[in-house]
């Protein structure tokens, strides 16, 4: 049986702040819904209420016509409602089977019945199309596999309504396609799916209906077939959104080579990599997860050992043994893993901003005023939305955290900046801000390298795109050669 949900004037207050202003709409069973809205629109809060992680301050939620209040996620699971978080809830050191039954272990007498759990886990893994032993430890899985494990786990709990928060944010196109096949199959089995995503092309492709929220309110609900992507984006931001990407001005013909890498080999990840990027140029890096893009750049800035290769900056060979050397030579790197490697989420904004060039503020005592002035300037320049300059970074929304992370790697005033997945988990508005910023950086004469899994982004943004596969550079595509088919063909080796 599928589940029908009816929200009636749901309100949610955090202290004095109201984040949901009486939201009402219903969800019919057995369909795929796209839930759209910018960061802070209230969609996550609403979904947390539905899945038992939060309770509404006022209003009523009816499941199959019966008013329900879930005190915790377990009660919601009992009603067949499961939320899959964007950051997975898996214990890295346990096996797949152990994770799937965590807190719901099957027992035989006083003992845990491992045999039965392994058998069942294998069945659910097969159902989601994952051919892997249930005894594999989760830490050995790639992101896409973890995603599938989460879905299998939900199925093992008899999920009838599945909420997926940005499930494709870290997936490659191929993996995304497989996930969509699975979603369609689940729908056919009678599962209702609520799909939260910023990727409007995917929403257009997979959903039956879209529900748009803005500023804690329900805005509209439409059959997906009746709206274009442009209209979706407009509905989300509440005004006309002009073109996402600024016009591209090619770098000057005589622009110097800002970074030249030759013969770079990173044991286990990349071999014989050659490329160069000019001042004022935006160079994209495409490839599947595991193609060695991130690892190559980590090796360039000295975070990983490299076994061969030369690096030249502005025509002079440089020795980069640590990120510190890289910063000193004018090369900085923005990690794809914002919370794990990019930002100190528990530290204040200013501390994050100035961390890479703290010497600039220490004479020898740190000048807190100067740091604060720098933060104020960065907040204005990068459009970081924060009411209070003393906040911890974790209190910013995803898009604003990303802007802060960008401000941080740009703070040392680098000549070459490497941006790894610069718009991951960021809403449409913030994305557009970031694209304009990247162009501005290029216009200032910096070389910008963008590593991205979003093909649209690479196509719309870059002057040239390098495609990597299996640790090797497959091809270098010029602006006029950039299209999705070409990129996918090179990335997957089906050219």
């Amino acid at each position: 049986m599928s589940v029908a949900v009816h929200f009636d004037a749901i309100r949610k207050d955090f202290g004095p702040v109201r984040v949901l202003h009486g939201v009402s709409f219903e969800i019919a069973p057995g369909r795929i819904y796209g839930l759209l809205g910018e960061n802070g629109a209230g969609k996550s809060t609403l979904m947390k209420i539905l899945s038992g992680y939060e309770t509404a301050t006022a209003g009523e939620m009816r499941i199959d016509g019966v008013p329900q209040v879930f005190g915790n996620s377990r009660q919601a699971e009992a009603a067949g409602i499961v939320l899959i978080h964007q950051e997975f809830n898996l214990a890295e050191h346990l096996t797949i089977a152990q994770n799937m039954y965590l807190g719901h272990e099957k027992r035989r007498g006083p003992f845990v019945d491992d045999v039965a759990m392994r058998k069942d886990a294998a069945r659910y893994l097969a159902q989601v199309g994952l051919t892997i032993s249930p005894d594999t430890r989760v830490r050995d899985l790639i992101v896409a596999e973890k995603q599938l494990v989460e879905i299998a786990k939900a199925l093992s709990r008899n999920a009838r309504l599945l909420i997926m928060d940005e499930p494709t944010a870290t997936l490659t196109p191929g993996e995304t396609a497989r996930l969509f096949t699975l979603m369609t199959k689940l729908k056919d089995d009678g599962v209702t799916l609520l799909y939260i995503s910023h990727k409007l092309d995917e929403v257009e492709h997979i959903t039956d209906e879209i529900i748009v929220m803005r500023d804690g309110r329900f805005i509209t609900r439409e059959a997906t077939a009746n709206v274009t992507r442009q209209q979706m984006a407009n509905l989300m931001v509440g005004r006309e959104l002009s073109d996402m990407f600024p016009p591209r001005n090619p770098p000057a013909a005589d622009a110097p080579v800002a970074l030249k890498v030759s013969g770079l080999t990173v044991p286990g990840w990349a071999s014989e990599l050659d490329f160069e990027v000019h001042a004022g140029e935006i160079l994209g890096f495409a490839g599947l997860v595991g193609a060695g893009r991130t690892e190559s750049f980590e090796a360039i800035i000295g975070l990983r050992p490299r076994s061969a290769g030369q690096i030249e900056m502005l025509g002079r060979p440089v020795q980069l043994k640590s990120p510190r050397d890289a910063v000193r030579h004018g090369l900085t790197y923005l990690s794809e893993d914002r919370k794990g490697k990019g930002l100190h989420v528990n530290l204040p904004l200013a501390d994050n901003l100035t961390l890479m060039t703290l010497e600039r503020y220490a004479h020898p005592w740190l000048s807190l005023q100067a740091e604060r002035a720098a933060l104020r300037q960065a907040v204005a320049h990068f459009g970081i939305r924060t009411g209070d300059l003393d906040l911890r970074a974790r209190m910013l929304s995803g898009g604003n955290q990303q802007k802060l992370a960008l401000a941080k790697v740009l703070h040392p005033d680098p000549k070459v900046v490497v941006l790894d997945e610069p718009t991951r988990g960021v809403d449409v508005g913030a994305k557009r801000d970031i694209y304009f910023l990247i162009h501005q950086l290029a216009a200032q004469g910096r070389a910008v390298i963008v590593i991205s899994s979003e093909l649209i982004e690479l196509i719309g943004l870059c002057h040239r795109v390098a495609v990597m596969r299996g640790g090797r550079l497959q091809t270098m595509l010029g602006m006029e050669q950039l299209n999705e088919e070409e990129l996918i063909a090179h990335a997957t080796g089906t050219h």
């Binding site: 202290g15 990120p323 530290l347 890479m356 703290l358 005592w365 809403d427 508005g429 913030a430 801000d433």
Partner: protein, 335 residues
Amino acid sequence: MQPAHTETGSTRPSLQRMLRHVSSLGPVLGLIVLCIAGTWLNPDFATLDNMMNVLTRTAFIGIIAVGMTFVIISGGIDLSVGSMAALIAGSMIFLMNKLVLAGTLSPLAIVLTGIALALLLGAAFGAIHGLLITKGRIEPFIVTLGTLGIFRAYLTYLADGGALTLDTALNDLYAPVYYASLLGIPVPIWVFLIVAALGTIILNRTAFGRHVQAIGSNEQVARYAAIRVDLVKIVTYMFLGLCVGIATVLYVPRLGSATPTTGILWELEAIAAVVVGGTALKGGEGRVIGTVIGAILLSVISNILNLTSIISVYLNAAVQGFVIIIVAFLQRSRH
């Protein structure tokens, strides 16, 4: 750049900040409550002499705890400080007595040599810890658990299982370092204040201090942000070792001796002071001033217990345990 689009920042900054404020006052509140209780139980508690006694004896643990604050904020721990203090004290006395026998140096020079040795040994022991932890990639808990045993065993060996006692004449010369007062305040309190003030400034107003916090908050992020993580960690352990050296320099003239019980359980008292003072045991953030208050709070408890007989002597240790837990509870909402 185009105008930014709307994204709401934090939804409840004022509330959060208020809470942060109240909870950071936890140890201070605890200390005030204890002082009121102490005065009520025994009016002698509030006398200047008693205050000076308490602060003076807090100085050793307090100075060590300031160094420990850095190590804990950086995400490390040092269990060896008590044993380290004992070994440094023993080595100092051993060397000074030998120099007296040699008879070539003036007594003052001998005392100064002893002090130099203490500081040098502290920094050296800290450097060894730091190197084993960073380059040797051994957990700090294990490294310092190992040296905890090693340091104390060597002290016991130096002392032949008994006591190492400083030459009487030297002790008379050296005694003022513990017993003398400057402007009515005993020397150890001055040193404690100076170390605490330096610690505060280093932690909050230098690049090194900021790097320590960044490493403890998230070592990976720090590494990606071009911080020399290993070097910063080694320096935190050296700083702690130096603090232990300073504490020992103050400690030796008090009794003029080192025994195998010297500094026993100091590591736990120092760690308790740091944590009661509001530094997270898992690292990332903390305050030197909190540590100072934590250290004073702990010695005030035993002072009050000594000044009264309302609680069975068998339960004295329990009182300290209760206070630690209550103070920790008061500041639990910080995260």
